[in-house]
């Protein structure tokens, strides 16, 4: 599949934003988050910026972006429609929270709205992932690891942005921050292992179809696409038969893994051992992880093969 830059950037940025909101919401709901208006407002705004930037970029993918509102109508059947709806609905608790924060951790409405924010954010990430997992012609996306990976990546990148951003607003929270650093390290290890398993499964998977199956002529003998239907490329060959980067896939996977997992892991360890270094290591960890996930998401498209590609020579 051709990796559309708008979708790659959208899923990574919005995923990080929803991750920030999930952590914030969960910690608020559990009363595990330190009081102080700014302590809440800063990560809230950070999430808002990431989510909104992602959603705006996603509109660039559309042929008729001015009609985007129509995408909210078919939530009964379409995960894309559900994603749009969930994304918009999640703004409600975010805005409500901005109005509700008092700097008092036990303020019940803020805790409830925090829980709603986390639920909305997770639901939106789920819808995003389900768009991909519900497409029968692309077996690489139907892999059962795809859905948890979207969640883990959102929690990982969002967690790093949350920890990296919130510390400027939060004072004297070394205990919470330390626990959070270890929690993130666990999420990171889970994500890295699952992604490695996904890549292995992808390497072992057969091509989704060959010319014999695609044409239905396999019963006759060995089928080979002899001539394509046109001398020029078409939408389908460009979109579905994208094979440009598979050559570089191994190197790109290493780059993605180092940036998204190895580097943030090292930096998290540094932060855990010396909490005073947090301002110096956590923001770079968040940036590295996001860059790594951009490469990872690019590969998620570039390495996925569509059945229809088998029609072509």
């Amino acid at each position: 599949m051709r990796p559309a830059l708008s979708i790659v950037v959208f899923t990574v940025l919005a995923g990080a934003g929803y991750g920030v909101w999930t952590w914030l919401g969960v910690l608020l709901a559990l009363r595990a988050y330190p009081p102080g208006r700014n302590a809440t407002l800063l990560p809230l705004a950070l999430g808002f910026a990431l989510v909104s930037a992602g959603l705006v970029v996603s509109l660039l993918h559309l042929g008729q972006p001015q009609r985007a509102w129509r995408a909210l109508t078919q939530w009964r059947t379409s995960w894309l429609s559900r994603e749009g709806l969930a994304a918009l609905l999640t703004y409600l608790p975010a805005l409500a929270l901005a109005g509700l924060v008092r700097g008092d951790a036990s303020f019940l409405p803020a805790r409830l709205v925090g829980a709603l924010l986390a639920l909305g954010a997770l639901a939106t990430v789920t819808c995003t992932a389900r768009i991909y997992t519900s497409l029968p012609p692309i077996p690489a996306w139907r892999d059962r690891r795809v859905l948890p990976l979207f969640h883990l990546h959102a929690l990982l990148s969002g967690g790093l942005w949350f920890a990296g951003g919130a510390q400027f607003a939060v004072r004297s929270t070394a205990g919470v921050a330390l626990a959070f650093a270890w929690l993130l390290a666990v999420v990171l290890l889970l994500a890295a292992n699952l992604k490695r398993a996904y890549w292995r499964a992808l390497d072992a998977a057969p091509a989704p179809a060959d010319a014999g199956r695609a044409s239905g002529l396999a019963a006759l003998g060995t089928v080979r696409a002899f001539e394509g239907p046109a001398t020029e490329a078409s939408y389908v060959t460009r979109e579905m038969a994208f094979a440009l980067a598979r050559r570089h896939a191994a190197r790109l996977r290493r780059i993605a893994a180092v940036l998204a997992y190895s580097l943030p892991f090292l930096l998290l360890c540094v932060a855990a051992f010396d909490m005073t270094l947090r301002p110096w290591v956590l923001p770079p960890a968040a940036i590295a992880c996001t860059l790594g996930l951009l490469v990872e998401r690019w590969l998620f498209f570039a390495e996925a093969k569509h059945v229809a590609a088998a029609y072509f020579p």
Partner: protein, 277 residues
């Protein structure tokens, strides 16, 4: 609404005979020509007369080469892949003992107007829909936002995004011809069917077991590819008929007896030696 309608009373579709199709692309051209001025709006091309023309076609004709005809096991593999119950594709091997070395098969590819396609329910806007009355799958160009998810959802590569119009386009089964009373009755069929010089394309109701197209499918063992994905395509392809023995014989003769260079007249012998270097 992108929810699929209940099974329609009629299942209009195409039956395409791969035995008689000569790969002339007349259907594809007729389709482009009709639909460019059809009810669903133009099919604009970028750079139509230039070096790299680019635009939407609803129907594209592929060409496949089949070798190893009648290799054991292939037929049973197909039976597994197909939805079962329908006759097996007659292969050269089951009908005759001598088979040609290869077949060239032209394969027109367009929307198969599936009964349970994923292209419709994934649409977030309701632009993609399946007609309840006859099962035709259409895109409403006025609602489509051009998200292209439906094209990803189609395993047959039947949907093409128009960069010029910013919307998805696909075969309409010439819904703007087949019901048009102002056309002569023989013209109330899809443009591709009317254009085919070898009558390899047939149009009709595949939901009616007594229709001409259904009879053809039953008689010739019509099939649809990629049934295992569960889209339940309506269109059918008719497999090539078994080859007659004499064709295979001729092929076998030309294949044997390597050229004896020394037996040639001097000029040709010299040429043969020159070319063999």
């Amino acid at each position: 609404m992108t929810a699929l309608p209940p099974p329609p009373p009629k299942k209009l579709g195409l039956v395409i005979d791969l035995d008689t199709c000569v790969g002339c692309h007349a259907c594809a051209v007729a389709c482009k020509s009709w639909n460019d001025g059809g009810a669903f709006g133009p099919l604009p091309d970028a750079d139509p007369l230039g070096a790299a023309p680019d635009g939407v076609w609803f129907n594209r004709v592929h060409t496949y080469e089949v070798t190893g005809l009648g290799t054991a096991g292939a037929a049973s593999e197909q039976r597994k892949a197909d939805d079962g119950g329908r006759p097996e594709i007659p292969t050269a091997a089951t009908a005759h003992s001598r088979v040609p070395p290869a077949l060239t098969i032209h394969f027109p590819r367009s929307c198969l107007h599936c009964e349970t396609p994923a292209c419709v329910p994934v649409c977030p806007t309701g632009a993609s829909y399946k007609r309840a009355e006859d099962g035709i799958v259409l895109v409403d160009a006025d609602k489509c936002i051009g998200c292209q998810l439906c094209a990803w959802a189609c395993p047959y590569g039947a949907r093409e995004f128009s960069a010029a119009r910013g919307v998805m386009q696909k075969c309409t089964l010439c819904v703007d011809r087949i019901y048009d009373d102002s056309l002569a009755p023989q013209d109330r069929q899809p443009a591709c069917v009317a254009a085919c010089p070898t009558r390899a394309r047939h149009f009709g109701d595949l939901g009616d077991p007594h229709s001409e197209v259904s009879k053809l499918v039953a008689e010739r063992g019509g099939f649809a590819p990629l049934q295992e994905l569960g889209y339940a395509p309506v269109n059918r392809y008719l497999p090539p008929r078994p080859h007659r023995d004499d064709g295979a014989h001729a092929a076998a003769e030309t294949a044997e007896a390597p050229l004896d260079g020394e037996a040639l007249p001097p000029l040709l012998r010299w040429l043969d030696r020159l070319l063999s270097r």
